[in-house]
Symmetry: C2
Subunit: 184 residues, 2 copies
Amino acid sequence: MSNLYVALTHYPVVDKRGDIITSAVTNLDLHDISRAVKTYGVKSFYVVTPLKDQQSLVQKIISHWTHGAGAVYNPARRSALELIKVKDTIADVAADIKDIENVDPKTVVTCARRYPSSTGYKKFRDILKSDSPHLLIFGTAWGLAEAFIAEADYILEPILGPADYNHLSVRSAAAIILDRLLSA
Amino acid sequence: MSNLYVALTHYPVVDKRGDIITSAVTNLDLHDISRAVKTYGVKSFYVVTPLKDQQSLVQKIISHWTHGAGAVYNPARRSALELIKVKDTIADVAADIKDIENVDPKTVVTCARRYPSSTGYKKFRDILKSDSPHLLIFGTAWGLAEAFIAEADYILEPILGPADYNHLSVRSAAAIILDRLLSA
C-alpha cells in the first residue's frame, strides 16, 4: 500500500470566469471518490470546505451510510464512506497528516492545464513507492485557484485522450488518476 | 481515433440479491460518461432503457444542455451530451451501429468478476487498433445479468487496485476503462 492521502476541496477554486469561489458539495463526489479511494488503498479521503452548513451536510451523508439505514443496506458503501474526514482548510488536512505521520506531507495538485514543471504519471508512480506521505488534492468547480496550484510540491500532467476535449468531471479525473498511480 | 461505441444499459441488470431488474437512470451517469466518451474520442454514447418515461427524462436532460439554457451556459457540456443516443435495447444499439458501419459490432462487456475467458486491457487495446467496430457495454445497478454477459464477444477483466475492494461506481469504472483502452 502506498502512503497516499486524497483531498477534495471546495475552496479556493474558480468559477467559469476564473473568479475564486467556495463551491457547493456534490453528494456523488463523496460516494464515487470514496469508493475509488477504497479500491486503490488510499489512507483517508478529506473533504474540505470552510462552510459549516456544508460540513454538516457531509457529516449527515456519511452518517446515513456508516451508522444509519444505509450501513445495513450496503456495507460496501459503508467501508468506503468511513474513510472520509471533513476539514476547514487544506492546511488543517496537512496538520492532520503530520499528526499521523510525524512529517509534513508533500502536496500534489491536478490541473487541466500543462505547466513546464508538470510531473508525469509514471514518474509520480515511482515517487509514491517511497514511504513518505503525499497528499493528492482535487479541486471542484472549474478547478483549483492558480495561487494555490503554484504552492504545491508537484503538479500532475493533465489527463489527455486522443480527442481535443479536456472537461472530465472531478469524479472521473480522480478515478483515472488513482488508477494510473496505484493500479496493480 | 478508434472505432469504439459505448452503451450504458439499465436492463438486463441485477439488484443486490441477483434478481434481474430495470434500473432507473442517474443524471450524473449521463454527464460523467458522455464527458469521458468525448475525451477519449468514442463515436457515440448509447443510453439504453426500455421504459418510455425514463427515455423522456434522458431526452429532457440532453435537450437542456444541447438546446436549452445549459447550451449557452456551458458549451463544453453540450458537445459531450450531444453524443448520447437513446435506445430501447442493446439489439437496437447494435442495429444502429450496423447501419453506420455496414457490419455488426463486436460486443465487449465489463464485470466486477473475473472469468476464465476474460480479456486483459493491453490485449483489448491492441484489438481496438483494427478498424472494425466494437461496442463496449456498461451495466448499472449491481451489474449486467449473467446470461447477457455470456453472449458477449469479449469480457474485460475486473478493475483491481492493491486493496481487496471491488465496488467502483459505473461512472468511475467507465472513466478508468476508457483511459486504459484509449489514453494517448
